[in-house]
Amino acid sequence: MLNKVLDLLDPLLILSAALMGVALYLIFVWVPTETNQGAVQRILYFHVPVAWGSMMGIFVVSGSSFMYLWKKNEKWDRLAVASAEVGVIFGAMMLLSGMIWARPVWAVWWTGEAKLTTALILFFIYVAYLMFRAYFPPGTQRQRLAAIIGVIGAVDTPIIYFAANLWSQAHPPLVTGPAADAESALGSDLGTVLLASTLAFSFLFIYMVQTRYKIRKSEDDLVELKRASSASAMTGAN
């Protein structure tokens, strides 16, 4: 029993939990409340790290999809699917926390601002990536086609950002909330908290991807074992 508990205590998990504790203390106790936006500004310390995590996810999916198409090694496919799943969860948290912040500060839940539009479209592409994997029968063909979606998403990203930028220039976002663009009075304190929080979420991201990768590997091993055992049963019957 104790061994099982100890097995679960991955160094990365301990590190991210400890950093998360430090980050929470800094966010809710140490850092002073921002004068223009009030307490709601503290969402930033959560929003930026999860946005960073979702960007890491997209980056790893693209990179490992490309590597899979090139090397055809299963481990790249496992890494791609693990970081896509974690990246989509971080992306959902980013979109939700951003909306909760925007409502009091910008007076709208959502606007056509370039980064928002880009994040939302990329979120949809990676949701489609996961849905495709869910719909397609398992095998190397699924891995190959999923990798193609990963690569296409990477090609599309700069084009989406450029288009969203042009679009938001043509349609200036309607932002009427209090002091949305006012200079923050927090200065270096903000940087310190953000750094701690981003580190905590980065290690959490890596830990989650690593765990998902291991589960994926076990799933693949299980399929392989079943295939081997049914093959040996067949030869035994003959």
Partner: protein, 224 residues
């Protein structure tokens, strides 16, 4: 070079011949797009003041949605007749198969637009018979068929391909859709080429990027 063009044309012409005989795709795409336009004339209270504002968006949303239904057919026919294997057996490189299929899809969506755009002009009371419209329409259709052919080739073997293709296709073509809508609205407001130049450049960049990447990557789809 000439040989490659001949191969692309041969595949495109095959699809075109099939289409001339049964008129499946063009009728489906044009009919679907026209219905979207008509439904929007009821969904939005259309008057002299807002036709320029909402018209371009409705037009391109309609063509994008309708395009998906047509793209689904292009590979479905090959799979139903098991002719995809025959194409793969042909001693030609896979990127030419992709370009041939993309050419067919391009022609279908383009012909459907020849029917849809005049009806759009009538329903929304806008002037669209201009060179700008031709350029926008060609660039958008090239991009739609470049991305659509790749994704149609992928989703054809998924059990829910009617659902999968739009989920993959629509987010990826969003920048192109923005370019089409924005430059069409510049056009209906009577502005010049220079106003829409940035959007047209974006559309060209999108088309080139996806034609090259898709042609290069298509071999991985047909691999077995």
């Amino acid at each position: 070079m000439m040989g490659s063009l001949a191969v692309i044309w041969a595949i495109g012409r095959k699809d075109l011949l099939l289409e001339i005989r049964n008129k499946d795709v063009v009728v489906a795409v044009a009919g679907f797009a026209l219905l979207v336009l008509v439904i929007f004339t009821f969904a939005i209270d259309l008057n002299q003041g807002n036709a320029e504002l909402v018209g371009p968006g409705v037009l391109w949303a309609g063509i994008a949605f309708a395009g998906v239904t047509g793209l689904n057919r292009a590979f479905a026919l090959e799979v139903e007749g098991s002719t995809l294997e025959a194409l793969m057996l042909a001693p030609i490189s896979r990127d030419l198969i992709y370009l041939g299929k993309a050419l067919g899809n391009f022609l279908f969506i383009a012909v459907a637009q020849i029917i849809v755009i005049p009806v759009f002009a009538v329903l929304f009371n806008l002037v669209v018979f201009r060179w700008e419209m031709l350029a926008i329409s060609l660039l958008t259709t090239i991009g739609f068929s470049a991305v659509g052919t790749l994704f149609a080739g992928m989703s054809v073997r998924v059990r829910a391909r009617e659902v999968m293709l739009p989920l993959l296709f629509l987010p990826v073509v969003t920048p192109l859709l923005m370019a089409a809508v924005e430059s069409t609205s510049h056009m209906v407001y009577g502005r010049s080429w220079s106003d829409m130049a940035q959007w047209l450049q974006l559309a060209v960049a999108f088309d080139v990027a996806f034609l090259v990447v898709s042609a290069f990557i298509f071999q991985h789809i047909l691999e077995d």
